[in-house]
């Protein structure tokens, strides 16, 4: 008998992809287990966002294999991957500005009847969501928009979350709050998380393991509890 889908993570093998005729990823391989947080770090333009978009099926895969939550999802359209129990938090243009807070959240749910119950759960983390449900999402502050993104991602109670540079432009207090929420999500539900970041401290505080991406290749991997992990990563980010 196969293991329950929820008990599996993500495995990426020999991933090659990019935009049009320009290759960006060159044989990226990694895996994460259930309940594990994996940080992908790198400077701008190294292929981090391309990696997540390729995993999500938003960019065509040229070569390689993607397995998540017990399924071979290579070549699947994004909506099927999401429905498997995956939440993706993109870096840019990630909320529907002209929809209300309420509508932005509802979009993520396949079972509208569970909305109220789920909203209570995420409003525990972000109380403004419950009181400003009818506000147009585009009028929220930058930090509130990021919170809405995380709330929308966690509302579906996903098994795997892919997060692209959530801390960019956020105040330290908000970053700390997001850190607590993601840690709690993993602790309470065993959610696996792929965290693409440039904020090394944030990534190291949350992740169990990390990889450094450079020009579309993984050039360094390790455990975040290793002494010297931060220095190793920062060396790659400077060079």
């Amino acid at each position: 008998m196969s293991a329950p889908v929820v008990a599996r993570g993500l495995a990426v093998g020999g991933l090659e992809g990019g935009y049009g005729s320009s290759p960006v990823l060159h044989g990226v391989t990694f895996h994460i287990g259930p309940g594990e947080i994996f940080g992908v770090l790198g400077k701008n333009g190294m292929g981090k966002t391309t990696l997540l978009r390729t995993i999500m099926g938003l960019l065509p895969l040229r070569r390689g294999k993607i397995e998540m939550l017990g399924e071979n999802v290579t070549g699947w359209p994004p909506y099927r991957i999401t429905r498997l129990g995956v939440s993706y938090v993109p870096q840019e243009k990630s909320i529907f500005q002209d929809l209300s807070v309420d509508e932005n959240l509802r979009l993520a749910l396949r079972e509208p009847s569970s909305f109220d119950e789920r909203l209570v759960a995420v409003a525990g983390w972000f109380p403004f969501l419950a009181t400003r449900r009818q506000q147009r999402a585009g009028t929220l502050s930058g930090g509130e928009q990021k919170m809405l993104l995380i709330a929308r991602a966690l509302l579906t109670r996903p098994h795997l979350v892919l997060i692209d540079e959530i801390t960019e432009g956020l105040q330290p207090a908000v970053i700390s709050q997001l850190q607590e929420i993601l840690a709690e999500e993993r602790r309470s539900r065993g959610t696996s998380i792929v965290l693409v970041e440039q904020n090394v401290q944030f990534a190291l505080a949350l992740a169990d393991r990390y990889a450094v991406l450079k020009l579309g290749r993984i050039v360094e991997t390790g455990s975040t509890i290793d002494t010297g992990a931060q220095k190793t990563i920062e060396r790659h980010l400077v060079i």
Binding site: Y79, T82, D98, L107, A108
Partner: protein, 276 residues
Amino acid sequence: MYTIQLFDVITTAGVLYIVALGLLLVYGVLKIINLAHGAFLALGSYAAVIATWLGWNPWSALVIALAVGIAVGAVAEWRVLRRLYVRPLDTILATWGLNIIIVQSITLYFGREIQFAESTITQAVNVGGVTYSLYRLVLLLVAVVLGTLVWLVMRRTQIGIVARAVIMNEELAEALGINTRLVRFVTFCLGAGLASLAGALITPLVSVHPNLGVPWLINAFMLVLVSGMSLGNLALAALILGGAQVLVSSYGNPVLGSLTIVILAVIILRFRTIPT
């Protein structure tokens, strides 16, 4: 006299709104101009002709038109259009080709001569001291009902939220688990069905021939471009531009009247500022 013209302005706006509604939906969600919209109108009108031939209740033509429009739209989207969404220019050629195929098929079967369809309502009523066509007033009511219905669906239902999300950012909608291919399919079918329904509704007001949809397509296209994908703006554009058409036709030249919507739309598009 002015009362009759006022009614003409309002009911013409209603008719234009009904005709343009399906085109607006398709343009908004699929981001393509469906140049087969006029052919779907013709399909609806010929559904009314067939209902007359068969001696059926004229109201049944509306159901037939809606069903035929949806069915033909479904086949067109499934077999042709869904492969072309990544090539928007080709969708224009494809829908124009579809328009030619439908029009020529109608011509093959019915010929080019003008056909007759029985009207659902033939009475006139006394309103505001004048005798006016009850059918045109009913069309105005249909426009209000259809517009309200579409608005309610778009604003108050999960389907509407999904459609608006796809309009705003299709890739993000897909990443949230929305099957955008299905949304496109349903929208195109609905747009085609609404066009055919509009064709059946306008049958008592027009001469039914294979190319009857072309002038309607042009006017509807202009109204959709001017309205910028908003149902409210579409109603306003139909009222102002359609009203101008009625007035120019009445006080000026009917030929110039038929060009009024196009001319005004071009002027509006030229001077409209795009919000950044």
